[in-house]
């Protein structure tokens, strides 16, 4: 009898162990993927919400999308990387205004595309972690069954991970704006870049 109970204990311990391994895999396989997926799901939920599609809810919808993005994107890091060597010479007020305007520029450029979501599937294809840096590979299936490769680059800040660059079909967002901004600053000045950004944001 005692032997039987012993066997049962070993058996249940083994099953418990298996469950634990299973759970661990679920929890730890893809920490970064989970973070990106969480934000993406939140945005999809907002843009798919029929109630939110009413014209009078447009501003509220934009605010909610921006809020979801803000939780996962490190705007300061993005702005710093975009301005690159021109960042160091700026004072705090200029930096703050640039971060704000850069965020608005991206919002203006990409929000319409996000809002045009029409049921595209998002496949999470893997992630890499290298110290404080990581990437998450995503494939977005268009309605024409074409896959668009998107790569999120994340950096660890404290206990959490934040996105600082997105590459779409291999083209980096930061590199694109870095080249453009550098060309404007070299040709004229940082003030001119800010003026252009302000006009761009006001128009939107």
């Amino acid at each position: 009898m005692a032997r039987r109970i012993g066997m049962m204990t070993i058996g249940s311990a083994f099953i418990f162990f298996l469950i634990l391994i299973g759970l661990q895999e679920k929890v730890f396989a893809g920490e970064l993927t989970e973070k990106v997926k969480d934000t993406t799901d939140k945005i999809i939920a907002i843009v798919s919400n029929q109630e939110m599609k009413q014209p009078d809810k447009a501003a509220e919808r934009k605010r909610l999308i921006r809020q979801a993005i803000d939780e996962r994107f490190d705007w300061e890091e993005m702005a710093r990387r975009t301005l690159a060597r021109h960042w160091t010479g700026r004072n705090d007020t200029e930096k703050k205004e640039f971060i704000f305007l850069f965020g608005k520029l991206l919002e203006r450029t990409y929000l319409d595309k996000v809002e045009g979501y029409s049921g595209e599937k998002v496949n999470y294809e893997g992630e890499t972690i290298d110290g404080d840096y990581g990437t998450v590979k995503v494939g977005i299936m268009t309605t024409q069954e074409k896959s668009i490769a998107v790569l999120y680059r994340l950096k660890k800040k404290g206990p959490d991970w934040f996105v600082y660059d997105i590459s779409i079909e291999g083209v980096s967002l930061i590199n694109n704006y870095r080249t453009q901004f550098n060309s404007i600053i070299t040709k004229s000045s940082f003030q001119d870049l800010m003026k252009r950004l302000r006009t761009n944001v006001e128009e939107g």
């Binding site: 690159a84 160091t88 074409k146 660059d165 291999g170 980096s172 590199n175």
Partner: protein
């Protein structure tokens, strides 16, 4: 005595000639002896676009170094870039494989970053942008806009 002196002169002349030839080969062939005054960093690309050893590394359109090695590592292209010792590459610099003109040769362009952390010799340039597959882009445009 006189004979010996002529032989010596010819010998010395030959040695001098060989040294000159060696110097010229090294300079013209851009060979590096004893490490030279350059250092190496690596960069991993998901697509190198067929870049070859000896291709240029460019910053702001200026040739600053060469691609020293191209290998496959975990189904990705691993490039070793050789750069001059006095050139500092920031940790957030971005390396991208580009093409000279539409069908020209491939080269690596580095867009300098603003970070205070500098990539050490033997270090890795983390931010890379693969070669753009023009054919794929055109097919995407033809068969369905991306």
């Amino acid at each position: 005595m006189k004979k010996f002196s002529i032989e010596m002169t010819v010998g010395l002349f030959m040695v001098a000639g060989i040294i000159c030839l060696g110097y010229l080969s090294i300079r013209l062939g851009k060979l590096e002896v004893m490490g030279g005054n350059s250092y190496e960093i690596t960069a991993v690309f998901s697509n190198s676009g067929g870049i070859k050893t000896g291709s240029s590394v460019v910053i702001a359109g200026v040739d600053v170094g060469t691609v020293k090695e191209v290998t496959l590592s975990d189904y990705q292209a691993r490039l070793v870039l050789s750069l001059p010792m006095d050139l500092k590459v920031q940790e957030d610099a971005i390396a991208s494989v580009k093409t000279k003109g539409l069908i020209g040769e491939k080269y690596v362009e580095i867009t300098p970053g603003g970070s205070e952390d500098i990539i050490k010799p033997g270090g890795r340039l983390r931010e890379t942008q693969p070669a753009i597959d023009l054919e794929q882009l055109i097919s995407g445009f033809v068969f369905g806009k991306i």
